[in-house]
């Protein structure tokens, strides 16, 4: 019996040892397969667009690997999870060498020394090559280049030409001012009893963040700005800001409501977009959403036109540098990382990138490209590129925007007035600026 018990004891000890050793072995294998070896460049792209994934994996990466002595391991991370994945990767020391993100995050990563300044690398490029890169200035934080924008984006007014004709409006003369927009929306809105069955116009309103971006367009048009030049003074609650939000609120609330659908997902909605289903006659939309409509509902897309940016005090709209690439400060392959970014920004690749993703090419020389100009979801945005303005590059911007977005939603839903909402958001943001 004693012999038996000892046997069991030894067997158990052996099992534990085997388990521990197999655990160690697994760990080592996982580390090796995790792309930490010297010859692998890890890249995270934001988004999960199938065309983009196919182009990057089948064209871009093989072409880069053929020219450079490095393996590239690309991972596509859904936009909604990108910040989460990055923050945990930073904390765990497993951040990729190169990662994509929107401009809004640039200052925060730069302030925390998570990304490197790219000026030294840029300085090695020919001067005319650098001058050709359209959105470089918007990728600077405190004068240093921290993100290389891959494309631009923007919000423009799209409208259904057929519905314009039905309502007795001239589709060749789209609204150019707020007053014209309001007047056209009143002509185009369709009501059934108390409810609206077709909105005259809608703005991006999927969530509070997109509502704040929609507000940005009207804020800029009214001559206002989110922050003062110092980057610490909140100015969105200026008279211009209150007028802009008041105009938006009047579209969705009050006696003469012409819009509905707050909170409905419209970004990238393609065939389900209210412009396609006929539940809206005009819509402020971004280039990616228009592209999705052209791809998923080409018949209706042929009846959709895009107007230049609206004008109130200024002609402007929300947009500018879209997603770009950063180099992680912890990367051990910074030179290779830069080579990858530079390769992606070569004219042929910069063109191919917007062909699959949409948006405004990162190079000014591509503005006259006949193939890009022939795309009805690219050309209007290229034409308006100089009018687009984006988020301020300050470290706390994503927090400030959230405070603003929550109040804008409250105003659009009619729980507070435009003025109260912006003042409250400004007060909260001022505290956040102080804490940072």
């Amino acid at each position: 019996m004693i012999t038996k018990v000892r046997g069991v004891s030894r067997l158990a000890a052996g099992l534990v040892m085997a388990l521990a050793l197999s655990g160690c072995g697994g760990g080592a294998g996982a580390g090796g397969g995790g792309g930490q070896d010297a010859g692998t460049l890890r890249v995270w792209f934001p988004g999960n667009l199938p065309e983009e994934i196919a182009w990057v994996n089948e064209k871009l990466v093989p072409a880069f690997e053929a020219e450079h002595d490095v393996d590239v391991q690309v991972e596509f991370v859904d936009w909604g999870n990108l910040s989460t994945r990055l923050s945990t990767a930073f904390a765990g020391g497993t951040a990729p060498d190169v990662f994509g993100h929107g401009n809004a995050a640039a200052a925060g990563y730069a302030a925390n020394d998570r990304v490197i300044a790219l000026d030294d690398h840029l300085a090695k490029l020919p001067a005319d090559d650098v001058a050709d890169l359209t959105f470089l200035d918007q990728g600077k934080v405190d004068g240093k280049q921290v993100i290389m924008p891959l494309r631009g984006f923007g919000h423009l007014l799209a409208y259904r030409a057929d519905l314009f004709e039905e309502a007795g409006l001239d589709p060749d003369s789209p609204p150019g001012t707020w007053q014209e927009l309001r007047a056209a929306a009143e002509r185009l809105v369709v009501r059934k009893g108390d409810s609206i069955t077709r909105s005259g116009v809608i703005v991006p309103a999927d969530n509070p963040t997109s509502m704040s971006q929609a507000f940005g367009s009207f804020l800029f048009q009214a001559g206002g700005d989110f922050l003062g030049e110092s980057g610490t003074e909140i100015t969105w609650n200026s008279e211009a800001g209150k007028r802009a939000l008041g105009f938006l609120v009047d579209l969705y609330n009050g006696a003469q409501t012409v819009s509905t659908g707050l909170g409905e997902a419209t970004t990238g909605a393609g065939a389900q977009h209210p412009l396609v289903t006929g539940r809206a006659a005009m819509a402020v939309i971004d280039e990616a959403t228009l592209k999705s409509i052209h791809e998923q509902a080409p018949d209706v897309a042929s009846r959709i036109r895009v107007a230049p940016p609206l004008k109130d005090a200024e002609t402007a709209s929300f947009g500018g540098a879209g997603n770009g690439l950063f180099i992680s400060a912890d990367s051990k392959r910074k030179d290779k990382a830069w080579e990858f970014i530079a390769f992606l920004l070569e004219p042929a690749n910069a063109k191919a990138y917007v062909q699959v993703v949409g948006g405004i090419p990162a190079r000014a020389s591509l503005a006259a490209d006949p193939e890009l100009s022939a795309k009805p979801y690219i050309k209007p945005y290229m034409d308006a590129a100089s009018r687009f303005r984006g988020n301020p590059n300050v470290a706390a911007w994503t927090q400030l925007r959230e405070s603003l977005a929550a109040e804008i939603e409250a105003a659009l839903r009619g729980t507070v007035t435009a003025g109260e909402a912006l003042d409250r958001a400004a007060a909260k943001a001022a505290t956040q600026v102080e804490q940072n």
Partner: protein, 316 residues
């Protein structure tokens, strides 16, 4: 394992082989203890690594200020995070939403599950299929169920289509702050129905027939039998269903993340949604951890109260 037998009539005096036997026995027990420890060691290590250490680290984080994007790691600041959370209106709003969500779902799901269990406890053709169909939502992952209901609730979804058929205007189920939470509750109750029904069914089938027959002999009708015999006997089962559902519901996240992301106007921001936002939108992992421990206290308190309330009067 080793039994000592003594022949009948043998002397009870000192055994010359006693010290050797005792030493051997001690050695055997020591070996047994060692074997026991070694056998449970993998489970202990696993439990420690995947449960106890993360909980301990989570509690440590709750006493720190930690932004994972910043370099330097967590900075200890004691109970400041708990104080900040407890004085935050947003947290108490999220607690209120969580309580409404959990109890709203229970109020819908538990009576409906009991009614269905009573229905399928009978014998009729196709009862097995009926039970299987009712149980189906339980085995479908919550994320998949949420995606289906996202379409059902969408402007052009099935529910608005049905309303349109009878001439009623569409409802903005998930995008109106007045209807979003009730819509989530209906979806979650539907999901919880099958599992609770099966547990009630097991409880019903465990009630001895003799009791039901005795009630019948005593002249009890179906209603009185249900009220005075079946329901009292189901109290332990009901307590189990309510407490387990409550624990799960108070931790809800995925369905809310998919259907409303906590909006509109934070009307569906439950505590777990707030914890997610705090940790991964605002990068305040310390406060998020403090919220998680406070949520644990809430769940523990609600579960304890439920057990006390439901077992009062002898139902055990």
């Amino acid at each position: 394992m080793v039994t000592e037998t003594r022949p009948a009539g043998a002397s009870a005096g000192p055994d010359p082989a006693g010290p050797v036997r005792r030493a051997r026995r001690r050695s055997l027990y020591a070996t047994q203890r060692r074997a026991g420890w070694i056998l449970v060691l993998p489970a202990v290590i696993t439990l420690a690594l995947v449960t106890i250490v993360p909980i301990g680290y989570g509690f440590y984080l709750s006493l720190t200020s930690y932004n994972p994007v910043e370099r330097g790691g967590p900075r200890f600041h004691g109970f400041d995070g708990y104080l900040a959370v407890l004085t935050s209106g947003q947290f108490w709003q999220a607690i209120w939403v969580t309580v409404q969500y959990a109890f709203g779902t229970l109020v819908l799901a538990v009576p409906a599950a009991l009614a269905l269990a009573l229905l399928v406890n009978g014998r009729f053709p196709g009862v097995a299929l009926f039970r299987a169909v009712l149980y189906l939502p339980r085995v479908v992952p919550l994320v998949a169920v949420s995606m289906i209901w996202l379409w059902l609730y969408s402007h052009d979804g099935l529910f608005n289509y049905l309303l349109d058929l009878v001439g009623l205007p569409p409802v903005n189920y998930l995008t109106d702050e007045n209807t979003a939470l009730p819509s989530l509750i209906v979806m979650r109750a539907w999901k919880a129905l099958g599992g609770s029904m099966i547990i009630f069914l097991a409880g019903l089938q465990g009630i001895p027939n003799s009791l039901l027959e005795a009630a019948s002999v005593d002249g009890c009708g179906r209603w009185r039998t249900l009220r005075h015999v079946i329901l009292p006997l189901l109290v332990p089962i009901t307590t189990y269903v309510v407490v387990v559902d409550l624990i799960y519901l108070a931790q809800s996240f995925s369905e809310i993340y998919i259907l409303t992301s906590g909006g509109p106007l934070s009307s569906t921001t439950v505590v777990n949604m707030l914890i997610y936002n705090e940790a991964f939108e605002h990068y305040r992992l310390g406060n998020a951890s403090a919220m998680a421990f406070l949520l644990f206290c809430l769940i523990f308190g609600l579960a304890y109260l439920s057990i006390r309330t439901m077992t009062k009067g002898g139902g055990r």
